[in-house]
């Protein structure tokens, strides 16, 4: 579903990604872990078509980037630590806007379905500015899945959430993954990543330094694996 070969991203003279190789099979849930400044967000922005690769090959959902970016965008849902929602519009109006931008047929039924999925049907007519951070993040997931994407990218979705909101987000993420979508998530929260993901990749200094599946981690835990990978 995602294939990346020798990806390089430079900003001026500074290389953020240095020949990164990465691949994800359909239906996998990959947690991309690494220290601050490792290049996780830059990598996700390239996969999301928001940033151009400097060098290398990137293929998402069967389409090459950046040449076929529009086709990729139609199959991609992105959630970042910012909700990408308009505070002066209601939950329904925000979803209507994104539904129009994705050319969704049967918009009202889909919005009802999505609001039900993220548990916000009762707040349908409320302005986003009245939502808590956790509710905004749940609606952000609703926005990202409105067009039923094959691939979901989550960039630090737990940032700024309290315990209750994080647990609610866990449930929503599980339901997103259970629908068979391919998911890539960056996170600093190792416990949550360990709970949700099926594979764990460590990104450090612009390259993937280690990778392990859930089965590989039976002998150890994710924290030990993470620390060991960074030390190596």
């Amino acid at each position: 579903m995602i294939e990346v070969k020798k990806l390089v991203k430079r900003f001026g003279l500074k290389s953020i990604l240095r020949g990164l190789d990465f691949s994800v099979q359909s239906g996998e849930f990959v947690a991309l872990l690494g220290p601050n400044g490792a290049g996780k967000t830059t990598f996700l922005r390239i996969l999301a078509t928001l940033s151009r690769p400097s060098l290398g090959q990137v293929k998402v959902a069967g389409h090459y980037l950046p040449q076929e970016a529009a086709q990729v965008r139609a199959k991609l849902g992105v959630v970042s630590h910012m909700p990408l929602l308009y505070p002066d519009l209601t939950a329904e109006e925000n979803l209507q806007f994104y539904a129009r931008m994705y050319g969704i047929e049967g918009m009202d039924a889909r919005i009802t379905e999505v609001l039900g999925m993220v548990g916000l049907e009762h707040r349908r007519k409320d302005l986003i500015r009245t939502f808590s951070r956790g509710m905004q993040q749940r609606l952000a997931i609703g926005r990202a899945v409105i067009h039923d994407p094959e691939v979901m990218l989550f960039d630090e979705p737990y940032t700024g959430l309290d315990q209750d909101a994080s647990e609610m987000l866990d449930d929503v993420l599980r339901s997103v993954a259970a629908e068979g979508r391919t998911v890539v998530m960056t996170s600093h929260d190792l416990a949550r990543a360990e709970d949700l993901a099926t594979r764990f990749d460590i990104l450090s200094r612009g390259v993937i330094t280690a990778s392990a599946t859930r089965a590989d981690l039976k002998q150890t835990n994710l924290l030990s694996f993470y620390k060991q990978s960074l030390e190596d």
Binding site: R45, A48, T49, L50, S51, R52, A70, Q71, R73, A74, L76, V78, S80, M82, P83, L84, L85, Y86, P87, D88, L89, E93, F97, Y98, R100, M101, Y102, G103, I104, E105, G106, R110, L127, R143, H147, D148
Partner: protein
């Protein structure tokens, strides 16, 4: 559930509809532009305690100074809303031609500018004792506003990505918008001085040409402006 990439027109109007709905709920942008415009014309009214003849000569200049400054305020605010909450990424993630984002934002900005102008013009007419409600003058104002928002939307998209956006936008915009502002002032000034439409054809035609050029350039380069 079926979905397909919307046409340029549908995506453009989805953005305009969203911007107008959000603005008519908060009135943040229009009220800021309006208060600023009214303050400018009132201050000019007191500052230019001149004889009637001199006042008539500066009418077009005062009018366009007001529109240009208020327009800059609106452009900055309109793009900040998209940038500050990451909504620009939301727009860029949609499977639409990115020109739709430019045209949508430019049309919204134009609508806000025209709304403010529609309120400012009667107040200006009363304060300066001049009749501004003439179809030819209104056509010049609309054309000038189109040119200003066409180039302003593009430059606001660039400047909003920097930390100095409030300062950077006027620095970038005013030198580039000079041809539009000059032609607009010249055409408006001529009409207010009693010239016929035929006599102001040169600045009027220039205004049309600049509008077309600015829209075409913005259409061609917007993709590169929003790309990382």
């Amino acid at each position: 559930m079926k979905s397909s990439s919307p046409s340029l027109l549908k995506a453009t109007f989805a953005i305009v509809r969203k911007d107008l709905a959000a603005e008519f709920r908060s009135f943040e942008l229009i009220s800021a532009m309006l208060i600023f415009s009214l303050l400018v014309i009132i201050i000019f009214n007191f500052a230019l305690e001149l004889d009637i003849k001199t006042r008539e000569a500066v009418n077009a200049g005062v009018l366009w100074t007001t529109f240009a400054f208020a327009g800059t305020l609106g452009l900055n605010r309109s793009m900040s809303v998209e940038k500050d909450r990451g909504c620009m990424d939301g727009l860029l993630l949609a499977p639409v031609d990115r020109s739709a984002i430019y045209f949508g934002k430019a049309l919204s900005n134009l609508a806000f500018m025209v709304i403010v102008e529609a309120i400012v013009l009667p107040v200006y007419s009363m304060l300066y004792n001049v009749n501004l409600f003439r179809i030819d003058l209104l056509a010049v104002i609309i054309l000038g506003s189109i040119g200003y928002t066409a180039v302003g939307t593009l430059l606001a998209t660039m400047s909003v990505q920097t930390r100095m956006r409030e300062v950077l936008l006027p620095i970038l915009l005013f030198p580039i918008a000079i041809p539009v502002l000059l032609a607009a002032v010249k055409a408006s000034g001529g009409l207010l001085a009693g010239s016929t439409f035929a006599e102001i054809m040169t600045p009027f035609n220039l205004l049309v040409v600049y509008d077309v050029i600015f829209i075409a350039i913005a259409f061609m380069v917007f993709d590169f402006v929003v790309e990382e």
